[in-house]
């Protein structure tokens, strides 16, 4: 309804608002709204993408339930919980970063970004420890994959309530680990991209960037980082927890 106004306004030769207001937008409000609308559309496609993996996981878990339970027990719940703590904290520090850029606090923004960066790297470090353990135990899908531990569990595993699987069911643990690596791997790729963007943002922030009110990048990176956090909020219970009891 205000289109005619928009056209009239855009036709003005003189420029209203700050220099980072693009000429095809009426106001900063409109520009900010448009940018975050686009970011949300992108995030929604990402939700659909991870949703496909989650659906595959739930269906296969339903089919090969004993294999998924046994394979899930090989994950270290403490490392997973610690990683959840790191990621939730990094979401909080990123939210604080957005606040610091909104209120033009340069030191606060730099500290928030550094904290987010360290927590993100910590998450990936722990993920590396978990992945290397998978290689040691031959739990990586492929030619080196070994179901021995599931067909003949160790004495202590049996004492801990673990049940031996028939070889054909034990073979299905490979499906679990395929999905485990696909889901945590895609999540880790998102983290790595996020960390690269964080480094760029930090470089700019230390040179006085984002202090003139033009904080679209910080805000939208914040949306991305929180989205990655949400994916982990679902991955952690599905992969580590629901077969635990």
């Amino acid at each position: 309804m205000s289109d005619s106004h928009a056209v009239a306004e855009a036709g003005h030769a003189e420029h209203h608002g700050p220099e980072y207001l693009r000429h095809h937008f009426v106001s900063m409000d409109q520009q900010t709204e448009t940018v975050s609308f686009g970011m949300w559309l992108f995030l929604l496609t990402e939700i659909m993408f991870f949703g496909g993996l989650f659906t595959a996981y739930l269906i296969y878990r339903n089919w090969y339930y004993p294999a998924f339970v046994a394979a899930s027990h090989t994950l270290d719940i403490k490392l997973g919980a610690f990683n959840t703590l790191l990621l939730i904290t990094s979401s909080f520090t990123m939210a604080m970063g957005v606040w610091c850029s909104e209120t033009k606090k340069k030191t606060g923004l730099i500290l928030s970004l550094v904290a987010t960066l360290i927590l993100g790297l910590g998450f990936l470090g722990i993920k590396t420890i978990e992945y290397s353990e998978k290689f040691e135990k031959h739990h990586v899908p492929g030619t080196t994959f070994d179901i021995k531990g599931f067909v003949h569990p160790s004495a202590e595993a049996l004492a801990g309530g673990e049940k031996a699987l028939a070889p054909d069911m034990a073979a299905k643990t490979e499906v679990y680990f395929s999905l485990y690596f696909a889901m945590t791997g895609m999540h880790a790729v998102h983290m790595i991209i996020g960390i690269a963007l964080l480094c760029g943002m930090l470089w700019k922030a230390t040179r006085g960037g984002y202090m003139n009110g033009h904080i679209a990048f910080v805000e939208n990176f914040g949306l991305y980082w929180h989205f990655v956090d949400i994916v982990w909020i679902f991955l952690f219970p599905l992969l580590y927890l629901i077969s635990r009891h």
């Binding site: 928009a6 919980a81 909080f92 939210a95 599905l238 629901i242 635990r244 009891h245």
Partner: protein
């Protein structure tokens, strides 16, 4: 806007840029930590088929408050709320219908 032009009338429902206070972020952060503790605790209780249901319910609650507060949707315009709502709705249809298809088929042994 800078000259108080009448065109702002058409934009009245658009939000003022709302700055969420650190206190709100901190409360959400603590709530998320409590949610994580709850979901870990619940996983050690044997609830049979309800274990995954409870875990996913807690995860959905956590995701919702992240979207509302950390991602500012609570303070956003109706357009943004509707867009996110429509996206989540479509997502639930895709996942829900795929799952109901697999669960309701009598495919015998797998």
């Amino acid at each position: 806007m800078s000259d108080g032009h009448a065109n702002t009338a058409g934009h009245e429902e658009e939000h003022e840029h709302h700055i969420v206070s650190p206190m709100v972020y901190f409360i959400i952060f603590i709530t998320l930590l409590v949610g994580t503790a709850l979901t870990i605790g619940a996983s050690y209780v044997d609830l049979g088929p309800w274990n995954p249901v409870l875990a996913i319910a807690i995860a959905c609650a956590k995701a919702t408050i992240v979207v509302l507060y950390f991602m500012h949707i609570k303070y956003s315009s109706k357009l943004m709320k509707l867009t996110v709502g429509a996206g989540v709705f479509t997502f639930l249809i895709l996942v829900g219908m795929s799952l109901s298809d697999y669960i309701s088929r009598a495919w015998g042994q797998w």
